[in-house]
Symmetry: C2
Subunit: 301 residues, 2 copies
C-alpha cells in the first residue's frame, strides 16, 4: 500500500523519537517510535535516523515537510535552534531552523525551545505541547503544569508564555528510588494514597522536614518492616510536597491545568487539592502532535 503522506510530525526527545505520518486531510496514517533519541546521535546521524523512520513514506519526487520539536534542536542535537526568550508566544515555524539534508526530498524544520534569564530556566518540547493546548483554548489565562521527569510550571496570559519554572522532582524520585540507600525499601508497584497524602501535608506544613524524613523511610523498613508501597508513596508525597511549596502562592491563585501522563497528573491534582486548588486535567495524550499540527498550519496558510 502506498501511503499518501503530506507531512511528518516528529517529537525528538533525549531518549527516543516519535514520528507521525500525516495525510493531506490531517489523518494519522502511521505512528513510529525509535530509541534513537538525541543523546545517542551525533549531529551527522540525525538524518539517517529520521530516514529509517520515514523513508518509505517519501515521495519519489517533491518535498515533504518534517516538523520537529524537542531535543533535536539542542546544541548537541541535529542543528541548534536558539531558544526564544520569554515573554513570547510558543515558537512556531517562523522561529524554526532548517538543517541541511543530503536527501533533497526532506524539508525539515526544528522548532526552538524557550529560555528565561531570571531565574534561569529552559525548555525544549514543552513549548510545543503548550502551543497544542492553546490551539484548542486560545483564550486560556492561567497556569499550565506539565508533570514529568522535569515538571514545567508555565504561566500564560494573552497567548503569551510569561514565565516558567522547572522542578526536577520526577528525576529525583527516580534516582532516590533506584540508586540511593532507599532502593532496598521501595520495590514493587503498589500504591498507598493515604501515605502519599500524609507525606505531602507534612512537607507543605514545614518544608524543612523533608531533610530528615527521607532517611527515615529506610529506617522504617528496617525497624518496622513497613511495606514498600507505603514507603514509595511516602517518598513521592515528600518530594511533591516540596515542589508544590516551591511553586508558591502567587502561582496558585489562577486557573491551573494539568497536562501529561494520566497517573502523574492525578497525583498532582491530589496535591493541589490540599492547597485548595481545583486543577483541571486536560485529556490529550498527543498534545505534542496538536502543537506540531499548529506549526504545520503556518506552512500551508
Amino acid at each position: 500500500m502506498v501511503m499518501d503522506v503530506e507531512w511528518v510530525a516528529v517529537d525528538w526527545g533525549t531518549t527516543n523519537l516519535r514520528a507521525w505520518l500525516i495525510a493531506g486531510d490531517g489523518e494519522v496514517l502511521a505512528t513510529c517510535r525509535s530509541e534513537l533519541g538525541m543523546s545517542r546521535l551525533r549531529p551527522e546521524e540525525f538524518e539517517a535516523a529520521l530516514m529509517e523512520t520515514v523513508e518509505d513514506a517519501l515521495r519519489s519526487n517533491g518535498q515533504i515537510p518534517v516538523i520537529v520539536c524537542g531535543m533535536a534542536g539542542a546544541r548537541e542535537g541535529w542543528k541548534e535552534a536558539p531558544y526564544s526568550a520569554v515573554p513570547c508566544a510558543p515558537p512556531g515555524l517562523s522561529e524554526a531552523v532548517t538543517p541541511q539534508t543530503r536527501d533533497v526530498r526532506l524539508q525539515t524544520f526544528i522548532i526552538p525551545g524557550l529560555k528565561q534569564l531570571e531565574p534561569a530556566d529552559v525548555m525544549r518540547g514543552e513549548e510545543t505541547q503548550i502551543s497544542g493546548f492553546l490551539a484548542g483554548q486560545p483564550d486560556f489565562e492561567g497556569v499550565i503544569c506539565l508533570p514529568g521527569t522535569h515538571t514545567k510550571w508555565v504561566r500564560v496570559s494573552d497567548r503569551t508564555i510569561t514565565e516558567f519554572h522547572t522542578h526536577m522532582t520526577g528525576e529525583i524520585f527516580s534516582l532516590l528510588s533506584s540508586q540511593s540507600v532507599l532502593r532496598h525499601s521501595l520495590g514493587g508497584e503498589g500504591w498507598d494514597q493515604d501515605a502519599f497524602i500524609e507525606a505531602l501535608e507534612t512537607v507543605i506544613e514545614d518544608p524543612t522536614r523533608i531533610s530528615s524524613r527521607l532517611f527515615s523511610i529506610r529506617a522504617k523498613a528496617l525497624l518496622n518492616n513497613t511495606e514498600d508501597a507505603y514507603l514509595r508513596s511516602e517518598l513521592s508525597g515528600y518530594l511533591l510536597g516540596l515542589e508544590l511549596g516551591g511553586v508558591g502562592r502567587k502561582w496558585l491563585d489562577q486557573e491551573t491545568v494539568l497536562i501529561g501522563d494520566s497517573r502523574l497528573v492525578e497525583l498532582y491534582r491530589a496535591g493541589l487539592k490540599i492547597l485548595g486548588i481545583n486543577a483541571i486535567i486536560v485529556e490529550d495524550k498527543d498534545i505534542t502532535l496538536s502543537g506540531l499540527r499548529h506549526a504545520y498550519a503556518e506552512l500551508v496558510r
Copy 2:
C-alpha cells in the same frame, strides 16, 4: 619481624574495612584497609575476609580479641547485632554479639548500632565514634554532628544519646552531581565559597526555593556558561541549607561539635555560622579507633 599484637580493632563499613593491629601498650603496630565491605560479603565469608587482614598477626596459640563496629553487625552482615534503643549510652562490649569462628584464635565482638523508633532512625558505626569522643570528653552536653554520606545529628546529655536524626544530604549531592541532568555542569574540583554561602542563605531563608533552583543550575550552564565550580558549590549550598533548616532551632541552641572529614566539617561550620552557631571542630581522624579502644578497655578492666 613478629608483631606482638594484643588485640585488633575493626571498622567494617558497607564498602570497605579498616583494621588496626594494636600492641599491649596501645601502640598501633599496623593499619590495614580492604575493599571487602559488608555489601560484598555473604555471612560465611566475613571470617575469611578478616583473616586475610589479620592472620599474620595471630599468635600460634591463645585468643586475640577482635572488636568490630559498623555494618558487619547488620542483618545482612556477619552476625546481626540488634540495635540498642535510644536513649542509652553508646553501646560497648556488654551489648556486643560474638559470631562463631572456625579459627579458635579469634575472639570476635561486634558492637551494635542504635535505633530510634519515633521518628524512625538507625545508625551503625557512628555510635562508636561518639563513644570515642565521649571517652575524651565525658562531661559533654550538646549536639554532635558527624557529616558524611548520611550525616548524623546526635544529642548527648549525661553520657547518654537521647535522640538522633540522619540526613541523606551527602548521598543526594553525589547522585545529583554524577547521575542527574546536572552532571553535565558540575565537573572538576574547584570551589566557590561565595556561591555556596549565597545558596545556603537562599534556602535557609525560604526552604521551598530549593525545588526550582536545582534545575536552574543546569539552565545557568546552558544560558550563561556559568563555571562548574560555581554551580557545584551552589548545589552543595542548596542541599546543606535544606539540611540545616531541617535540623531546626531546638537543636541549635546547644554546644555543637563537628566530627569528620576536614573539608566537609568546614562546610558545615560555615553553614552553622550563618545560623549564628559557633560549632567546634573536633580534630580526631581516628575517632572510630578511640571508640573501639574504649570498648576494648571493658574487656581488660
